[in-house]
Symmetry: C2
Subunit: 151 residues, 2 copies
Amino acid sequence: MDIKLNVQGVLADPKTETQVVLLRAEDKKEVLPIWVGAVEGTAIKFALEGILPARPMTHDLLKNILEHLRLRVQKVIITEIKNNTYYALIYIESDGTLLTVDARPSDAIALAIRMHVPIYTTDEVFRQRSGDDLDAWLEKLSPKDFGEHTA
Amino acid sequence: MDIKLNVQGVLADPKTETQVVLLRAEDKKEVLPIWVGAVEGTAIKFALEGILPARPMTHDLLKNILEHLRLRVQKVIITEIKNNTYYALIYIESDGTLLTVDARPSDAIALAIRMHVPIYTTDEVFRQRSGDDLDAWLEKLSPKDFGEHTA
C-alpha cells in the first residue's frame, strides 16, 4: 500500500558535505531518511523554505518547462531500495496519458515540493530502510547543525 | 547574427570550486567563458566525455522527460549578459509550436550537449564578454588543472 510522506526537513553534515532528507510517514511516526548530495539537498531546502533564487535552479527549469507545456505532475513515488540506493518514479500526465519517468529520489522530491504534489512510498521500502544508519549519522552532528538546516 | 558555439571544455579551479565552460565560436578564434558552479560544470563535463552515471543526474532526468513526451529541443541561445550574469533560452518544439524557456546558460549547455542540439550566441554577447576576467582566472591555475579538467 502506498504511504504518503511529508518532507520534514533537510539536515546537513558540514564535515562530509552529505545531507539527509527526512521524510515522515503521514500516518505513523516512522521516518524515511534519504541521503543526497549537497546540491540536491539545497534544491530541496530552498523549495521547502520558499526561497526563490535570482536565477532558476535546474529543478525550477524543469518545473518551468513542464508548466509551459501544460504538463501536470501527478505524484512521485519512492519505489525501492537496492544495494542502499533509492529509486523513484515521477508520474506525469500528458493529454490524458500517465507517463512514469525514472528519477533519483532527490530530483523527484525537489520537483514534487515545487509542484505541490504528494510524495509516496511503499511498506516494502519502509521495511528495508536503514534507520540504524540515520541514528549513527545523527549522533555525529552537533546541535547547531540542526538549528541551521532543518526546515 | 547568431554565432554557433562549440563547447571546448570545462576548466576547474580546485581552490575556489568555480568552474569555467569555454565556448568557442565556430567561425572565429574567440572564446566565450562562462563561470558555473561545480555541479553544473560536472554535469557539462560528464556529457562532453560521454560518462553515464549509474543514476540519472538532474539534466539526464530533464532529457528523459522531454524524450518520453516526444518533445524536441531545437537549440539553445545564450542571449545576453547583464551585470556579469549570463542568460539563455531553450527552444522546445511541441506539436509544431516553438516554445522558449528561460534558463541559466549552465543548464542550457548541459541539456544541449545531451540532446545533441546546437548552442548559439549573438555578436552583442561577444562584445560584452569578460575576456580579461578569463585571463586573470587562467593565470591562477596550475598546469595540472588543465590536464585534469579539459575535455
